[in-house]
Amino acid sequence: MIVLQALILMFVAAAGTAVVFTRDPTSQAIVVSFYGLLLGIMFFVFQAPDVALSQIVVGAIALPLMIMLALARVKKQSRKAQK
């Protein structure tokens, strides 16, 4: 169990770094989804099932969806401004 905890913590740190260093927001939405899933697994490994339930649905689905919708709206606005 200790090995699993150390492993998931290092994965979370690596995924957090990857989220920051992905500069393009569209790709960043996918990396954020993966990061949310890793966080959910980390909550589960540390004996927090309630928090893991919220995090999996919210972090892996709702958050990337909102980012994509905001980006699509921004693209539409800049296309309209170019006309």
């Binding site: 309630d50 709702a62 909102m66 919708l69 539409k76």
Partner: protein
């Protein structure tokens, strides 16, 4: 200041902040040894005194119910802010809307996607309500179940077109549901005061441990929070999707 100077300055101050972190961590108890007596007390009284088997729900809605009221209203206010920010201003006429870029051929929704999403809608709603209602027995509660519930209308959008999604997830109905959930929490607390107790004091009979009706007022608060969270998230999605609709030229 230029970008380069900003980055150098940040590296120096990040090193100082890291030193502060190390200094602060030195006083914490070692990892794996909880020194908080509040935790031991809550774990010990959750079943015998409050008849709730999920200690986290007991803390959220019974022992510290007042704090959850504040958190729920943060959510309510943020949803209000999103709706206000994205309202249609006068210089954007509402037209007949399509959700694709102009001149882009989008393939029609395939039958496999349509069948899967239609089959998954009812189990998702059922599962969401199951998690909401079982909050005081097993891990779950209003917040988790509400988020699962809010993903059900999204399945409808995936399998059909936007007008059908809007017709099924009528904004007026969802706004009423969300307001009812938020107001319900305060009304329950107010009912406690009216009956002669303190605000949000658990006055109902506590019931048998392990059943759905245990915990006194907690099932009602769970239902209210589930309504509010699911309504809030669906409203955010509705507002964002509506902003995306392309006007037909």
């Amino acid at each position: 200041m230029t970008r380069r100077i900003r980055q150098r300055f940040f590296l120096i101050s990040a090193a100082a902040l890291a030193l502060c972190f190390v200094w602060g961590y030195a006083d914490l108890p070692p990892f794996g040894h909880v020194s908080s007596s509040y935790a031991n007390i809550v774990n010990a009284i959750s079943v015998p005194q409050r008849h709730i088997t999920d200690a986290v729900t007991a803390v959220n809605f019974d022992v510290r119910g007042f704090d959850t009221l504040g958190e729920e209203f943060i959510l309510f206010t943020s949803v209000l802010g999103v709706i206000l920010l994205m309202r249609r201003t006068k210089d954007e006429p509402a037209g007949d809307h399509e959700d694709k870029a102009p001149g882009r051929k989008v393939p029609p929704v395939s039958d496999a996607v349509r069948v899967t999403t239609l089959l998954l809608m009812a189990p998702t709603i059922l599962f969401g309500w199951y998690i909401v209602v079982h909050g005081q027995v097993t891990p779950g509660g209003g917040f988790q179940g509400g988020v699962i519930l809010s993903s059900a209308p999204l399945l409808l959008y995936l399998c059909g077109s936007y007008p059908k999604f809007r017709g099924a997830a009528a904004p007026r109905l969802i706004e009423i549901a969300e307001a009812l959930g938020a107001a319900g929490y305060i009304l329950i607390g107010g009912a406690c005061v009216a009956l002669g107790g303190l605000f949000l004091e658990n006055l109902l009979p506590l019931g048998t441990t392990g059943t759905l009706t245990s915990g006194g007022m907690v099932p009602f608060i769970n239902l209210g929070v589930g309504l509010e969270v699911s309504g809030g998230f669906t409203l955010i999605l509705l507002v964002y999707l509506e902003e995306l609709m392309e006007e037909k030229e």
